[in-house]
Amino acid sequence: MRHRNLFQIITLSSLIFLGGFCLPPAVFAVEEHPSAAGRTTASAQVQESACQEIITLLQEQDKKTQRELGRIKREIALLNQQLDKPGISEMLGGIGYIFGLFGLAAYVASRKKKDRGEH
């Protein structure tokens, strides 16, 4: 009975001992496979989400630039329109031309009159 107990203890302890040697690699072997696969899928997921983020950022930026570009185009069109509109200087210049021309005509007419009067 005592021997048997001893034997049992020895076998158990040896098993445990052996188990200590064998199990960890086995556990690792068991653990390593799923962990490697998990890591690759996880990193792929991380990469994908990062890509998505970048894409959304780029899209947002694109939208912003589009909006800005539209605004600038509108402003340019407005400016062009304003440039087409004649300013006050052109108005006054035109009036000046008209008065000048008619002044010249009046001068010529008065000269003619004078000449006729003298002759």
Partner: protein, 203 residues
């Protein structure tokens, strides 16, 4: 209301130039020396009037003044309008030089007609003058819009469609123009009636 460069076919452009030059030359012969200041002032007013834009709904309208120019200047109106349009085209880029002849015909002919009409219907009283001024003001623009449609029709546009658009777009202008002309004529009749006596036709 200006016809732009390159819209009309060449033959029409040249013909319109010929008519415009004849009109301006004939008009020039009617000028009397004592009228020179008046012509200058009216020409300046015509020149500047098209820059005063009044917002109207989605678009804006501006005065054209062929009627009142005709009423005030009579036969000299064509010269005045031609000169005004010339300066507008070189200073403001309105219309353009090649279309100047067509624009001259478009605005000058109504002015001459309105001048004649004003002379015939103005009567003697202030009221008759005011009414005549209003009629001439409205009619000048109406005729100009019709001529515009006619000239554009030679460029292959659908005459009826363009005429309708031109007339519809200028309905507010007719009204404003008639009001402005009536006011101007009644005012001039009160303060300086001799300005309304246009120079007589000379052969």
């Amino acid at each position: 209301m200006h016809i732009s460069d390159g819209v009309l076919p060449t033959a029409v452009t040249i013909a319109a130039y010929a008519v415009s030059f004849c009109g301006a030359a004939w008009s020039l012969r009617q000028v009397e020396n004592k009228d020179l200041p008046k012509i200058a002032v009216v020409t300046s007013a015509f020149f500047v009037a098209s820059l005063i834009h009044l917002p109207f709904g989605p678009t804006s309208v501006h005065l054209l003044l062929p009627g009142i120019v005709g009423a005030l200047l009579g036969p000299v109106a064509f010269l005045s309008i031609f000169l005004g349009l010339f300066l507008q085209s070189i200073l403001f880029q309105f219309g353009g030089l090649t279309a100047l002849g067509a624009n001259g015909v478009m605005m000058g002919m109504p002015a001459l007609l309105c001048g004649l009409l004003f002379h015939l219907i103005r009567g003697k009283t202030a009221l008759s003058h005011t009414i005549a001024g209003g009629i001439c003001g409205g009619l000048g623009t109406l005729l100009a819009a019709t001529l515009l449609a006619g000239l554009l029709a030679t460029a292959g546009e659908d005459f009826a469609g363009v005429a309708k658009i031109a007339l519809a777009a200028h309905i507010p202008v007719f009204i404003v123009e008639a009001g402005v002309s009536a006011f101007a004529v009644s005012f001039l009749f009160k303060v300086k009636p001799e300005l309304l006596d246009t120079s007589r036709l000379r052969k």
